[in-house]
Amino acid sequence: MDSFEIANLFYSIGQVWTEWLTNLGLSPEWLSFTNKAMGAVLLTALPVMIVCVTIMGERKIIGRFQDRLGPNRVGPCGVLQTIPDIFKLLTKEIITPTKVDKVMYNLAPMLSVVSVILIWAVIPLASNVVGVDLEIGALYFVAVSSFGTLAVLMAGWSSNNKYALISAFRGVAQLVSYEVPLVLTLLIPVLLAGTMRLNGIVEAQAQGWYVLLAPISMLIFFISSTAEVGRSPFDLLEADSEIVAGFNIEYSGMRFAMFFLGEFIHAFTFCGVIATLFFGGWRGPFVDQAPALGFLYFLIKMFAIYFVHIWIRITMPRLRIDHMLNLSWKFLIPLSLVNLVVMSLAAKLVQTPAMDATLWQLLPRWGILLGTNMVMIAGTFMILGTVSRRERHKQEAARVLEPVASGIQG
């Protein structure tokens, strides 16, 4: 009977809640409204709570990677470190520089938090637990994250600081460049599932996670999402050795903390989106019997992907701006365009199987899609090899002619 209760966990909570509100004498419309308001509060609280856990975990993990302990003073093994941190930020003085543009200066940190929390409205948390299963879910996700670009630009401009503005401009160039491959590969789960509903995409992955059907898309999406959230090696926004601290240099205290919070939520929200689009979201063993397990699976997948993020963050040095832009425009975008064309034609060759297709009926689709991906990967490596060999020859020839290397200015 144990598993039965878990199976109905969300359902039973909903039942109790609804009953309680109906007993209070709420009309159905107001009941629905109250439920939605509750949902909104929960969806805001969830990422904030996850942040509190992740910041701590990330600092510990980075400490271990760098052969040190990490925070270890507050609470057992330092797990409560975040709480004093929050209080410290709360009691900092909030400085408003005299020359800022007040309206935009105050709006920017708000926008950076709101834009990422809004994404959580469409992420399916468990089989029937999703804020709203919007008909245009995938597009909504892209649209909402484009507010983040605006927040960067607003913060940089309103601060009235050269470095902030330079950083904001660079940041926008970066965000804009990586949004193209991100969205182009987002199209692939959409077309494989034949729907823009994120829950629909997760359900369609009952026939195999899309990371197996479209590994290239997953890689492109992962790389460009790392750049979108401004994580290392793409953290040029706050390249502290070049531009004082980035677009948020004039911000202090809680206002700065809001940018920080926004950035953190952004980072693992994208991990959640990757888990949803390519790793089957809430799918996992026994999830049909016990829907509540789905939430657990989702969190596990999200944190696993986030761990890779952290791993990359502490391993890779920062890219130079021209390299970063080249990576997007001259590698990722052409690759994702080719990927999109080839994948759509390949997926059309084998009709989408019915929902109850057996493993044998699914095999041709898997084989063709995976095979296409392998061919594309091989082709990419061949082209890359040729190009880099040619480049090396060119550079060697240049070195013979002109011994003084001329640096490129970023």
Binding site: D101, M104, L134, E135, I136, L139, Y140, V142, A143, V144, S146, F147, T149, L150, L153, M154, W157, F169, V172, V176, E179, M196
Partner: protein, 170 residues
Amino acid sequence: MTYVVFGLFGILTLGGGILVVTSRNLVRAAASLVLSFFGIAGLYVLLEAGFMAAAQILIYIGAIAILIIFAVMLTQRVAAGNRVAMNSQWPWALLVSALTFALLVYIINIVWPLGIRAENVPVLAADPTRGLGMALVDWGQYVLPFEVASILLLGAMVGSIFIAREQHDD
């Protein structure tokens, strides 16, 4: 309730629009333009055109507004806050737009009388976005404009890169 939301987004749209044409600081004007675009996106949601709302935010706020802000910053030498924003013919412009508005209201009032409440609005198709997708690549419908759109975009990109590029001597 819908009326309240409509009013909210309407005020956002029109207020943003008014700020765009009146504010002297061009970056402020661009920010108000974003407000106005956002209001329009809200109106699209009220019209149950979710796809258009998302496209509006993605294209207008996420791309065109940023392009405009970049252009503003590239063409502003100093913080040009205190130059004259309007030219000498602005009273005439005001008059002309007011007359146009009056004319439009007059016409609208003839065909769709203002006082009438919306009764029996037709029901939406099941999934309008999918319908749009099918129509865009359907031989009988919009495939020609669809391909022409891509050629237009190609032309726009080639042309504007050609125009905007700084002339390098090498």
